[in-house]
């Protein structure tokens, strides 16, 4: 009986916690928007209208909603990939490289005879995931077998994948003689069908939702997920419990790699491109780090964070397109928003504002290290 009442209390506490965190994030976002407004005031001739665009443009037209949702789907996948490796306490930064090899694999499928059949999408996605998984496996196995630092190896593999993509596109995948660095459009069968005609919302969104549920399920409902989290919490304990922590670590990085590969397929086979072009990823993969950290690596929180972040990203972009605010200023505004939101997340309630101006209470490095 006492147990149940405690469970209720626990649930209440959890809700209170979520409410508090959300409130803090919103407060921080408001401050950040205030700062953004001040900057816009100085750089725009029509600041109110520019600010209005920043806040409302993403939902101004069906097409822009599509852009937003498409971004959200992609940010979700990269956020999930980073969440997985972070939960296993690895710091692989390889999603970018996985996106390129995944995109390449999907492009090879789409441009092959299979591309013209209904198999193009499933096979393309599968091959992309295999390629990405393999690319995630490399730094994992190097770390497990040799202790090679995964941050370094995965960063280098990113550059290698980009150059590989440049090379294969230029020499193999483009129509002979055309010399452009973009392949022909994929056959319609190989392009993700749009869910809402005329927008970028395509089955990539469904894949993203499935991925969220799958990663959540894998992490919290399977033995593999529990093992992965235990390895992340305390690898020594995992070993003591009979969990082969290196196997788990490598498999986590491989699965994250497969997600990266999937993202590659979503890029090239999605409505956004429908073909392979060099440098197609444009730095989005790295933004998954931000998403994962703010979401505290929890898969169900990832799409929520992506939804907000994607909105901001799209609003800033459209402000750049539609108003006279220079695109550079948008970077500055984004940076400030990230800083403030990140700060708010780590502080208990009102203290955030106190700390912003006041003195730091006695530091707690001792407690931190003791854990």
């Amino acid at each position: 009986m006492s147990m149940t009442s405690e469970a209720v209390l626990g649930r209440k506490a959890r809700w209170a916690n979520i409410r508090r965190e959300t409130g803090r994030a919103l407060a921080a976002a408001l401050i950040a928007l205030g700062v953004a407004f001040i900057i816009i005031l100085f750089t725009s001739k029509a600041p109110l209208e520019a600010f209005n665009v920043l806040l409302t443009a993403p939902i101004s037209r069906p097409r822009t909603i599509g852009l937003w949702i498409d971004d959200v789907a992609k940010l979700t996948i990269t956020g999930l990939a980073f969440s997985l490796v972070f939960q296993a306490r690895q710091f692989s930064m390889g999603v970018q490289g996985q996106v390129y090899v995944g995109g390449l694999a999907a492009a090879y499928v789409a441009l092959s005879p299979i591309g013209a059949t209904w198999l193009a999408i499933p096979v393309g996605v599968l091959c992309a995931m295999i390629a990405g998984g393999f690319y995630g496996f490399i730094p994992g196995i190097a770390k497990a077998k040799l202790g090679a630092n995964e941050i370094v190896s995965s960063l280098m593999l990113n550059y290698i994948a980009i150059e590989l993509c440049n090379y294969l596109v230029r020499t193999q995948l483009v129509p002979p003689g055309s010399g452009v660095l973009t392949t022909n459009d994929f056959p319609a069968t190989a392009v993700f069908p749009a869910l809402v005609a005329g927008t970028r919302i395509d089955i990539g969104l469904i894949l993203a939702i499935v991925a969220v549920l799958a990663v959540w399920f894998a992490l919290y409902r399977t033995a593999w997920g529990l093992k992965l989290r235990l390895v992340g919490h305390n690898a020594q304990f995992a070993e003591y419990s009979g969990i082969r922590s290196t196997v788990i670590m490598v498999s986590a990085m491989t699965v994250a790699g497969a997600l990266g590969g999937l993202l590659g397929a979503m890029f090239v086979q999605g409505q956004s491109y429908g073909k392979l072009t060099i440098l197609f990823e444009g730095g989005l993969a790295f933004e998954g780090i931000l998403i994962a950290i703010v979401a505290r690596s929890r898969p169900l929180a990832v799409p929520v964070v992506a939804l907000f972040y994607g909105y901001l990203r799209q609003g800033a972009q459209l402000m750049n397109i539609r108003t006279d605010v220079p695109s550079e200023v948008i970077g500055v505004v984004t940076a400030i928003i990230i800083l403030l939101v990140a700060s708010s997340f780590s502080l208990p309630g009102r203290k955030f504002f106190a700390r912003l101006f006041g003195r730091d209470p006695a530091s707690s490095a001792v407690m931190e290290a003791g854990k």
């Binding site: 630092n149 970077g331 500055v332 912003l356």
Partner: protein, 316 residues
């Protein structure tokens, strides 16, 4: 192949390697200080970029050394911003680092626009200055080796010498002074220095400050020597490579030097190779430094592991 060897062992190539390594080395040292104090500084790239721009703009109005100092100050300021948000507001250090990178990418172009009256891409309308090269041709009078010495040692940027000195100075600081001990202690196990009454957060803040200053110094070298002037995103990923070099160099100043030289060597090689082997696709040549890094990393890790195993075996 012979040609390649001739090129690689020439004095010109050596000078090129030093030149390409210097910005990386400075930035790597910056990354090293932050890393040893327990903060992963992913903002090296942005700090370098801001260093580039500050150096270029200030050098229009002031002597080169003032410009270099200004770059250092700008980098330190960014380090202070990182410290404020991470240490005071407890924001995640990686998030703060990425925010600084995003800020730097946009902010430098915006500042450039203001400084040039509308130019968004490059500073070629600004008559910026260069860091002088150190002329050691007087060494030529030494009989026998004088000529070779001049070929190898003369003509490097002053900052290359500074960087070499800094490797020593940082090593000395870290392993020979009390404050180096504090810094390493803070990075390894903050509870210990805290209990010993060492201001842990102040040490971390100073480390980030110095880290930013060093990265920006690398930026100054890049924008006032390797190329004189600023263009948008001119650091082109060097900050991230420096981050890798910190770890590749086993978190030691001499290791940082070796890692930066390794990168500089292969970057230089990738530059001269097309002239010698025009049949190799450019993309594959450009991959070489990255592939070599991965191989070096694997090799070092493998050897370190073997060494551990051998020690175990030999004593049984």
């Amino acid at each position: 192949m012979i040609e390649l060897f001739m090129t690689v062992f020439s004095a010109t190539f050596f000078v090129t390697v030093v030149r390409t390594s210097t910005p990386l080395l400075l930035s790597t040292l910056g990354g090293l200080i932050a890393d040893l104090s327990g903060a992963l500084n992913v903002a090296l790239e942005g700090m370098m970029l801001v260093g580039c721009l500050t150096a270029v703009i200030v050098s229009v109005f002031a002597p080169w050394y003032v410009a270099v100092l200004a770059a250092i100050a700008a980098g330190a300021l960014l380090g202070a911003v990182m410290a404020f948000f991470h240490l005071r507001l407890k924001a995640d250090i990686i998030l703060v680092g990425f925010a600084i990178n995003i800020f730097a990418t946009g902010g430098t172009v915006f500042a450039l626009t203001l400084a040039t009256g509308g130019d968004k891409g490059t500073s070629i309308n600004l008559p910026s200055k260069a860091i002088p090269a150190l002329d050691l041709s007087f060494l030529g009078v030494i009989p026998g080796i004088g000529h070779t010495l001049v070929q190898f040692l003369s003509g490097h940027s002053i900052l290359s010498w500074v960087a070499a000195f800094l490797v020593f100075a940082i090593w000395y600081f870290l392993y020979r002074t009390p404050w180096g001990l504090w810094l390493r202690g803070v990075g390894e196990y903050p509870a210990a220095p805290e209990a010993a009454g060492i201001p842990v957060n102040a040490i971390r803040a100073w480390s980030l400050l110095v880290s930013g200053a060093l990265a920006a110094l690398g930026g100054a070298q890049l924008a006032m020597f390797n190329y004189v002037g600023f263009t948008r995103d001119m650091t082109a990923g060097r900050g991230f490579i420096a981050l890798g070099a910190v770890l590749l160099g086993a978190r030691h100043p001499v290791g940082a030097l070796l890692a930066a030289l390794l990168f500089g060597f292969f970057e230089a090689l990738a530059v001269v190779m097309p002239g010698l082997f025009n049949w190799i696709p450019a993309e594959l040549i450009r991959m070489i430094p990255f592939i070599v890094t991965v191989l070096a990393l694997v090799l070092f890790s493998y050897r370190a592991m073997r060494a551990r195993q051998l020690r175990t075996l030999s004593k049984i």
